[in-house]
Amino acid sequence: MSAVSPLHKGVFFLLALGIVLCLAGHRYRTQQVESQITWQDVNIALQNVETAKLELFQSLNAKAAVN
């Protein structure tokens, strides 16, 4: 059984470091976003959903009129 070479060790270390940094970055971004979004933003998002829903109905009605 061959021993793990220093090169492999280095690659594994860098890979592990990269994963840890990615996870930490993701967590940081999530926390930043969570700290910024308020219920007023949710309110606006719901208004946009309602508008998108109405636009969908308009398209459906227009298509139905053509068909």
């Binding site: 979004i37 109405l54 459906l60």
Partner: protein, 270 residues
């Protein structure tokens, strides 16, 4: 000569102790005032944010799904050809609404806890006012005793009158600030309650949306007609008023928090 020096020394020590006592007590109250202020700001910030990011992300997904459906409808030659796509998109939309609606219970629990904590802070504020009232009473008693001539030494009497007058003025200023603070907290509690109810109403709308979209998705799964599946969704159109109210109520909460942030506890003569 020695007697006069001793009198002056004792008077200086008395005045010094009175000032140190007032200062120590004032520092304690200042810390308490700042701690309550900080708590109020944090509680409002939490109430404005708890669960919001998750709900926001789910609604953004639904927005994307609606836009994708519209684009598909615009491109389709026969809308019934897209029934499969509609079925899967409605399923996603319903799931997102259901997931968002589940946050209603957590938000209600958070609101109940915040309201209890805010009530606790108001009690602390009232206790601080009572403690200051007691101090005023003690100083007034000393002042009256000095004014009534109970203290025979004129120099000492003069110092006691001057020190207690100053202390009473300072305490009354503090009482005025704490009382105003208590009134602002009362206003904040009722406005925050109104705003959190609006959030609950919004989550209730999402809960009802979830039920309606789930049934629409079930209809779409029958693979008959796109219009048949979407027809009942139009019933939930009139929620604009609710949404406008929510924004206005939170603006009022922000305004009160701004007032609280600007309030400072100034100690006159301590």
């Amino acid at each position: 000569m020695w007697a006069r020096t001793w009198r002056s020394l004792i008077s200086a020590v008395f005045l010094g102790l009175l000032t140190i006592g007032q200062q120590a007590s004032a520092d304690e109250l200042t810390n308490q005032f700042e701690s309550i202020k900080e708590f109020l700001v944090d509680t409002v910030a939490d109430s404005q944010r708890v669960g919001a990011a998750t709900t926001y992300a789910l609604l953004r997904d639904n927005l994307a799904a609606f836009r994708a459906l519209k684009a598909r409808v615009d491109q389709a030659t026969r809308i019934d050809d897209m029934i499969d796509e509609l079925s899967s998109e409605l399923d996603i939309i319903a799931s997102n609404f259901e997931q968002a609606a589940r946050l209603r219970v957590d938000y209600a629990a958070h609101t109940t806890q915040s309201e209890a904590q805010l009530a606790g802070k108001r009690r602390q504020t009232r206790d601080a006012i009572l403690a200051l009232d007691r101090k005023v009473a003690i100083s007034q008693l000393e002042l009256q005793q000095a004014q009534n001539g109970t203290i025979t030494d004129p120099e000492r009497r003069k110092i006691i009158i001057s020190a207690n007058t100053s202390v009473i003025n300072s305490l009354q200023t503090q009482i005025a600030i704490w009382s105003q603070f208590e009134k602002t907290q009362h206003r904040l509690a009722s406005t925050l309650q109104l705003s959190t109810r609006k959030v609950d109403l919004l989550l209730f709308v999402l809960e009802k949306n979830a039920q309606v979209y789930r049934e629409a998705a079930n209809t779409a799964q029958l693979r008959q007609s796109v219009r048949l599946a979407l027809n009942n969704l139009q019933a939930l159109g009139a929620i604009e008023g609710t949404l406008a109210d929510l924004a206005a109520s939170w603006q009022e909460v922000d305004q009160i928090i701004g007032e609280i942030g600007r309030t400072e506890l100034g100690y006159v003569g301590s």
